[in-house]
């Protein structure tokens, strides 16, 4: 087992063992009522989930975009060795990946400047909807970034083989980028509602 797998499995085992032990103790001492998710959700400040939504939105969207750029870029560089003509044209794929990261920045702007006083101590709707907006962007953009990257990689390599294929594959990339936009639109709709 590699070091990383060992680390992950060790962490997972520790986590689940702790959870199991605590759960057994709560059960045998008839303290199950103390496991109160509602207490956690209502007692914690809503603001403490707004900020994670904020940084998840920007960071994981950039992660997705970076992953796409890494995939596309390495294909462009590799394919460009044999077919140097593809280098300039396939930068469009890089731009599409970077646009995906811009979606994350677009989402970060509504989060900007939100203070605990604005939200209030008991405005659970505001806090959790902003966290949800951030998660919406995270799931949409991170996967779209990878999608655009893989399609861009294919476009570069196909273009190296046959120049007429590039435009057709670019259409696939456009669709991939558009579905990321759906996630951004929904997230923007979530934020003002709070």
């Amino acid at each position: 087992m590699t070091g990383l797998a060992l680390l992950y499995s060790g962490l997972g085992l520790a986590f689940w063992t702790t959870l199991l032990g605590v759960g057994i103790c709560y059960t045998i001492f008839d303290l199950g009522f103390r496991f109160d998710v509602a207490w956690f959700l209502t007692e914690t400040s809503p603001y403490h989930v707004v900020q994670p939504g904020h940084w998840l939105a920007i960071s994981l969207s950039v992660v997705g975009a970076a992953w796409g750029i890494y995939i596309t870029g390495s294909s462009i560089i590799g394919g460009g060795v044999k077919a140097p003509r593809i280098k300039t044209k396939n930068l469009v794929s890089i731009i599409f990946c970077e646009a995906v990261a811009i979606y994350g920045i677009i989402m970060a702007i509504p989060f900007n400047g939100v203070t605990p006083e604005e939200i209030g101590a008991r405005n659970y709707h505001a806090g959790f909807s902003m966290f949800g907006a951030g998660l919406t962007v995270v799931y949409a953009i991170s996967s779209v970034g990878v999608c655009v990257g893989i399609v861009g990689s294919g476009a570069a390599l196909a273009d190296a083989q046959n120049a007429s294929l590039f435009v057709k594959i670019l259409i696939v990339e456009i669709f991939g980028s558009a579905i990321g936009l759906f996630g951004v639109i929904v997230a923007i709709l979530q934020v003002p509602a709070s």
């Binding site: 990383l4 992950y8 962490l11 045998i28 001492f29 008839d30 303290l31 009522f33 103390r34 207490w39 956690f40 007692e43 914690t44 400040s45 403490h48 900020q51 994670p52 998840l56 960071s59 994981l60 992660v63 992953w67 890494y70 390495s74 294909s75 590799g78 060795v81 044999k82 140097p84 003509r85 280098k87």
Partner: protein, 475 residues
């Protein structure tokens, strides 16, 4: 009426704040008689000890109309807790029989120590009797008692009084008989409390048996010379070793006053204890702890009520900030079908000064399954748990601070607290927020680490043994 009121105020003043740390002794008093309806049902002042004038006023009607034979059983130590602790374990079978078969019975849970000590003189005065005849160990041998029935016009034609004095003329002495029976068994290292109580109960039963065989109507009183020493905490049994919750035996240590009980007689239904109870009005603090718990308590619980779904404990103080003060603890219980069990919660604390509108405070999270009480180390305003309710102009004037509060309004058994759910969890709110946020950050870190460590160069078209790739110079 006015005289009684002044006597009561005087009694309250006499019971008022004494030397710091001093606890006035209080003793229970049981009274029963073969005659019926001597003491009609009446509400005794709750939460405080009766003084000598009050006791005299309480006993006088029944003694005047009752049998002429009065027995006063005095044991060395007795407290109300002895009945709750040992009653169910068969320490008082004959006393219970006597009370059950008595025509009239009266239970006074708390009589001031001085009033209890003066009980023989009080009875002598009320009955107009000669000094009491002392019967150590309850020996009634050779005693002839007055068989006068209550309500008869004159006892002159009945055999009269106690006969140990050979010069007494039994035919012309219809005086009431006051017998002082000293119950001999004392608690010590060799004889525990329960055994001493049980043996004294046997002596009491023997005396009453003699009277019953002789068909002598009587009135009997049971009290003690001094309160019992504090008992060590009894084992807290919540149904087995499964439940060892956060409760502790409050109010049972030697330095801790006992909890407030309502009703004060019999099995309490509501228990409340706090290490410190204080209120603040307009910046002026007032510590109510000595007025609420312990020997100098002057709180009246008479306004309290209980039903299976609502328990209301009302603490009435005669004067705080120059006016009467009421503090109300409202507890509720309800069945929750999803949970499948009843839950009880401390819903509200109300503070009313004089005739002003009450200041109300809601308590957050003071809920637990019904057999459990609720405990909190620190409850007060400002604070996360105690929230002022409208009208805010009233509730924001007041500050409340209760330390080490434990309250139970339902499923109280044996007169002691059951288990309790604490307001503090293992992690505080901030700790949970930090754990969740930290977990998210750690997750992001692990994800990033996984991605970085999983990077591989693209080697799909890489052939190490093939010819080197030509790089055209034209591009």
């Amino acid at each position: 009426m006015a005289a009684a009121l002044w006597a009561l105020i005087g009694a309250l003043a006499a019971l008022g704040p004494g030397p710091a740390g001093a606890a006035a002794p209080r003793l229970p008093l049981l009274v029963w008689s073969t005659e019926r309806s001597l003491w009609p049902p009446q509400s005794l002042p709750a939460g405080r000890a009766l003084s000598e004038p009050e006791l005299q006023e309480l006993l006088e009607p029944g003694l005047r109309r009752g049998p002429r034979t009065v027995l006063l059983f005095l044991q060395e130590q007795l407290s109300l807790e002895d009945f709750t602790a040992f009653g169910a374990h068969g320490a008082f079978p004959r006393l219970q029989d006597a009370l059950g078969s008595a025509g009239s019975a009266l239970t006074v849970p708390a009589v001031a120590g001085a009033a209890a000590a003066a009980l023989p003189l009080t009875l002598q005065r009320l009955l107009g009797a000669p000094p009491p005849l002392r019967l150590p160990g309850g020996a009634l041998a050779g005693l002839r008692l007055n068989r006068t029935e209550p309500g008869s016009d004159h006892p002159s034609d009945h055999p009269s009084d106690h006969s140990d004095d050979p010069q007494s003329d039994p035919q012309s002495d219809p005086q009431p008989s006051l017998l002082l029976v000293g119950l001999p068994h004392r608690r010590s290292g060799l004889m525990g409390a329960r055994e001493a109580l049980s043996r004294n109960d046997a002596v009491l039963g023997e005396v009453l048996r003699v009277l019953q065989e002789e068909r002598i109507p009587y009135t009997a009183l049971l009290s003690a010379e001094r309160p019992a020493d504090p008992r060590p905490s009894p084992p807290l049994d919540f149904g087995g070793p499964r439940r060892a919750l956060l409760a502790r035996g409050v109010g049972e240590g030697p330095a801790e006053p006992p909890p407030l009980r309502w009703p004060p007689q019999g099995d309490p239904k509501i228990l409340l204890w706090a290490r410190n109870l204080s209120v603040t009005l307009g910046g002026r603090p007032q510590d109510l702890t000595p007025k609420t718990f312990g020997g100098g308590a002057e709180v009246d619980l008479g306004g309290s009520s209980w039903s299976p779904h609502e328990a209301r404990l009302v603490l009435r103080y005669p004067e705080v900030f120059g006016e009467p003060l009421n503090i109300t603890f409202l507890l509720r219980r309800a069945w929750f079908p999803v949970s499948g069990r009843p839950w009880a919660w401390l819903e509200e604390i109300g503070v009313t000064l004089g005739g002003a509108p009450p200041a109300r405070f809601r308590i957050r999270g003071a809920a637990a399954p019904s057999p459990l009480g609720w405990r909190c180390g620190d409850l007060g305003t400002p604070g996360p748990l105690l929230l002022p309710l409208p009208p805010l102009e009233q509730s924001q004037r007041w500050g409340i601070r209760i330390r080490d509060l434990q309250v139970q309004g339902f499923n109280v058994s044996g007169g002691v607290f059951g288990g309790a759910s604490d307001c503090a969890g293992f992690f505080g709110v901030g700790a949970w927020m930090g754990l969740i946020s930290g977990g998210l950050l750690l997750g992001g870190l692990l994800l990033g680490g996984g991605v970085l460590l999983g990077l591989r160069p693209m080697d799909r078209f890489d052939d190490p043994r093939g010819p080197p790739l030509p790089v055209p110079l034209a591009e």
